[in-house]
Symmetry: C2
Subunit: 215 residues, 2 copies
DNA sequence: ACTAAGATGTTACCTGCGGTAACGCGAGTC
DNA sequence: GACTCGCGTTACCGCAGGTAACATCTTAGT
């Protein structure tokens, strides 16, 4: 009759999907990535085939799960990036936001950076070289690149330069954050300051060490 | 009798090990990471248990394999880093060396950055947060950190700063290289120049864009 | 009211993986 | 000749991802 029924069904299916995702989230948060489909289904109170009907395969579920977290994190980062402040302050705020996020929920972070391996045997041949690294890194790199291009005046090659810097800075943040999370060699604030110093050219400005090997 | 026998045996075992590693290398190069132990054993003309006797488990084999390539790449990088030239030239040479390596053999690169997932079910609980990212990244970060600390005069916090920068720069190189390898948005030389520009403080020096949103 | 359709859920199974136990066999040693 | 010991095999276990086939309950059509 009216559309309420179809919308009800639609809503029901959608709600179910969200419930499943939340269950999956709990399991991944508890068991880390590599959580089995069986475990996730059990947590959701159902059995495997339902998961497969909703998400196709494990990659689909993980992609859906990853997108939720990625979107959330990207929102935080955009907020820090858009704050009304000096450029250096904004950069530091963005770095700090990212680090705070991975510090608060390392399991989620680990899951986002380690997306399920993928690649079934057969057909993958011949230098495919697609989706090498985590989608989150790519998305963050692209976003930052856009922001840089929008905000900064970089001369003729502005577009190319901005994208390269976007991916580069995100990679720097990621690698340093990963190492820091493992070894905790200093406070978060120190790490943020040090990285900002690097981006502000202190590497180029530093003097050679006296008595160095050969020069 | 004399030691020739034991040395012969030793040599034999060692040679076997090398043969197996080379076979594994071929398979990984062909099938990418995720190559099965069966496939590797078949390529070597033997069966699985022999692999397990030599390397313990899949992680052991992959670790041995990874170390060969990692050592080779690190040697190249050290050479570029130690060249007698201006700092900027050395930085560019190092970046270029890395990019040339991943460009020449993307499958190897992919394998090195995607180390086997690990983590058997059970016991892994409770915020372990170890070995999050690829060992190659860590090693490169540490090495670069040492070089920076040795060469540059960074004031009081020299040690901390150098390590942070080491990991950060390596991460920048990795992420930008990964993205570049996938999309090929520019030449290698352009990428190298752009990254060096970033490290040389062009981000801080750039002017705000006129007509930007709000400032 | 009876039936047809379709979503929702199940059990039971297939394939392929990492990993291992048990056995076979040839070469040296006493 | 018996004993061991390195090298190799077959056959198997457990568990993962993924699927086929069956059961069920709701809803629509006549």
């Amino acid at each position: 009759m009216d559309t309420t029924q179809s919308t009800d069904q639609e809503r029901s299916a959608d709600r179910r999907r969200r419930e499943l995702l939340e269950a999956a989230d709990r399991v991944v948060l508890r068991d880390g990535p590599g959580a089995s489909m069986n475990a996730i289904a059990a947590e959701a109170g159902i059995t495997k085939p339902i998961l497969y009907r909703h998400f196709g395969d494990k990659g689909g579920l993980y992609a859906a799960l990853a997108q939720r977290h990625t979107d959330a994190l990207l929102d935080s980062l955009r907020a820090a990036l858009d704050a009304p402040a000096e450029r250096r302050e904004r950069v530091e705020a963005t770095l700090d936001t990212y680090l705070a996020a991975i510090e608060a929920r390392p399991q989620v972070y680990r899951f986002l950076m380690h997306p399920a391996e993928g690649g079934q045997p057969g057909g993958d041949q011949g230098f495919d070289v697609g989706k090498l690294s985590a989608p989150l890194l790519r998305r963050m790199g692209e976003e930052l690149g856009k922001v840089i291009e929008d905000r900064l005046d970089l001369g003729p090659d502005s577009r190319r330069l901005a994208r390269i810097w976007g991916h580069g800075i995100v990679g720097m943040m990621h690698a340093a954050g990963d190492w820091w999370l493992g070894e905790r060699p200093c406070t978060r604030a120190e790490l943020v300051r040090s990285m900002a110093d690097l981006l502000w050219g202190r590497l180029a400005a530093a003097g050679d060490k006296v008595g160095g090997p050969g020069f």
